[in-house]
């Protein structure tokens, strides 16, 4: 099928699909007036039952914790897949020119190099703050982990690849990621043994608004934080290492 035929097939079918979707949207609640039966129930009982203030966290790590376990495994499998694919690309070890010693970067002043490192501290602190207070304020293990893990890229931006490989140990992040995924499942399994159902909230709930509150919600959020943060850190390190091999190819 050449491009022209393909375009026409696509355009005709897209017009039909778009029309059907628009027609179907008439069956959705009009914008700004949705109210689900489950919503009211959750909003009324979640704070009383679980002493958390952030409802999405309560749903993620308690009411629908099993779904989160599934999402976690997708995450874990994807990161493992990336590692596997890039391991196959590994070539013989060659000495590389350090990026910051190149001609281009010699003109950079210390402030330009240090600014991303300062950003690293700020971003990592923000990520940890979000991850640790998921039950009180917007945030939680997923967002905090994504921000914390991506912050690793700031080391590369400021100091270059050699610093990144020296400061961060990829296999450590690897193991910590697996540990995070395991502890989520283990906490769920422990609840199964203690209370008879998977991921049941078995720990003391604590006081609403306290830093550690919500029973297992807090600990599950921390486990997810460790997994996501280390997963993103591994992704960043593995991808940024590829920049080195390009130089090797050309040199």
């Amino acid at each position: 099928m050449n491009l022209r035929v393909r375009t026409w097939v696509y355009v005709t079918s897209a017009v039909v699909v778009f029309g059907v979707l628009l027609y179907a949207s008439g069956g959705l609640p009009p914008f700004g007036s949705f109210s689900g039966a489950y919503t009211d129930y959750i909003l009324r009982v979640a704070t009383v039952e679980r002493s958390v203030l952030n409802m999405p966290t309560a749903i993620n790590f308690d009411y629908r914790g099993f779904d989160t376990l599934g999402e976690e495994f997708i995450f874990f499998a994807s990161v493992s897949g990336v590692l596997l694919l890039f391991r196959a690309l590994k070539t013989k070890a060659v000495r590389y020119p350090e990026p910051m010693e190149s001609e281009r970067s010699r003109g950079q002043t210390g402030a330009i190099r240090l600014f991303p490192v300062g950003l690293l501290g700020f971003t990592a602190a923000l990520g940890m703050d979000l991850g640790a207070h998921g039950q009180l304020t917007p945030g939680g293990g997923f967002q905090g982990g994504a921000i914390f893990g991506s912050a690793i890229a700031c080391v590369y931006l400021g100091l270059g690849l050699l610093a990144l490989t020296k400061l961060t140990h990829r296999s450590t992040f690897d193991m910590l990621e697996a540990f995070g995924a395991f502890s989520f499942a283990a906490l769920g399994g422990a609840a199964l043994l203690i209370a008879g159902s998977f991921l049941q909230n078995v720990m003391p709930l604590g006081q609403t608004g306290a830093t550690v509150s919500g029973g297992t919600i807090y600990f599950l959020s921390c486990a997810v934080f460790v997994e996501i943060a280390c997963g993103f850190a591994v992704l960043m390190i593995v991808f940024l290492r590829q920049t080195r091999e390009t130089q090797e190819d050309e040199g």
Partner: protein, 78 residues
């Protein structure tokens, strides 16, 4: 529907189309991260700060860096 929401929706519809129709992946990437930022702003306006936070982290930091490295590796001459 407030005016801010209308403006954001129109802007997102425009940016999404611009990201798709730009031929050079580097241009597309920068439009895409702007698109992600607008999406985060929209989620914030729609009372979903949690979703906005994860969209900011992913759409403006993690994905662009990985795409840039992939572009470099695949030898895109732009």
């Amino acid at each position: 529907m407030s005016l801010l929401q209308v403006v954001l929706y129109v802007f997102i519809a425009f940016l999404g189309a611009a990201a798709v129709f730009s031929k050079r992946p580097v241009n597309q990437l920068f439009i895409y991260s702007l698109f992600g930022m607008m999406l985060a702003l929209l989620f914030f306006v729609l009372h979903a700060p949690d979703v906005a936070l994860s969209e900011i982290a992913v759409g403006t930091l993690a994905v662009p860096i990985m795409v840039l490295v992939a572009l470099m590796k695949t030898g895109d001459k732009t």
